[in-house]
Symmetry: C2
Subunit: 170 residues, 2 copies
Amino acid sequence: MRDTGMGAGLGGESLLFLTDEQLRQGIEAMFFAYRGFTADPDRILADLAYGRAHHRAVHFINRAPGTTVNNLLNILGVTKQSLNRVLRTLIADGLVESRVGQHDKRERHLFLTEDGHALEQKLSDAQRARMRTAFREAGPDAVGGFRRVLEAMMDPEMRRAYARLKENGS
Amino acid sequence: MRDTGMGAGLGGESLLFLTDEQLRQGIEAMFFAYRGFTADPDRILADLAYGRAHHRAVHFINRAPGTTVNNLLNILGVTKQSLNRVLRTLIADGLVESRVGQHDKRERHLFLTEDGHALEQKLSDAQRARMRTAFREAGPDAVGGFRRVLEAMMDPEMRRAYARLKENGS
DNA sequence: CAGCTTACGTCAGTGTTGTTGACATTCCAA
DNA sequence: TTGGAATGTCAACAACACTGACGTAAGCTG
């Protein structure tokens, strides 16, 4: 009955029957919602000859300035060849700066330039506006539930990355 | 204060302050969770020389048997040429059957074959298992919130498609 | 110091999935 | 019946992911 108080995992709430139909609806909700989630940035990016991959890179470089290529690789979950193609264009276009590490000269630390910040702002404005509207429509209680389910859906490694970024920005 | 009672839209809940940081966390939660969401089917599909597009087609054909190509197109939000490539391989591999419409011979009605059902089952088993675990971990209250936020995040057109499918399967 | 590992970049090749353009078939209505 | 709209197919191309191989520079360890 009480809503908090179990430290971890499942165990409580054995009342929770989940029919296949409910689960399927959850799956479809994820599918359709993700489309909406990416729709606004995609429209902006299409005009700039950039894609979702560029958006992701810019987002996380903004979020963790000075991050290394390797770290970004782990967060994005792509191969270095794939990321490199994206970073190369962003650097060539003057949106991202790559600085050789002071302590470890093998590392490259990534930063957004002024133009890079401008693009990030433009993209995240659109995405945040949609998120804000959705949160408002759904109500404050829903927001907590939304976040709890999403967090539980992540692979453990990604959950850690997510938590690290949360602390980072708090 | 009361949690229900407003017919539509926003308007209530002006108490709901949303900082950029909260919104950013929501964005990142969507990103990481979607990765988890697709991870299990992706692993299965990789062995079969199929991709996410095949999964989506099989999912929605199972969900709405006899659907037309055009209808599927609207749900998936891709071009007919893109969908056609996927359908062609699924038909060639005997997972999907395409029947010429009786009333309108231009239309093709799509059905899963026995093998198609088997694949759909295998894929959705994996995805439902993750969804079930996530729902259980997050608790019953969270599930409602999750669904409300996702629904509010969809484009209106997709919200209608989602609602239609819900009725269909209820 | 020598040799191994790590971090990063790059080249080449492949596969999936999206796109546009062109086209055939079918239906319907003027 | 003829012309336009709708439905679906084929062909070619672009974006972005992947694997595999290789090169370079820098750090680490015995």
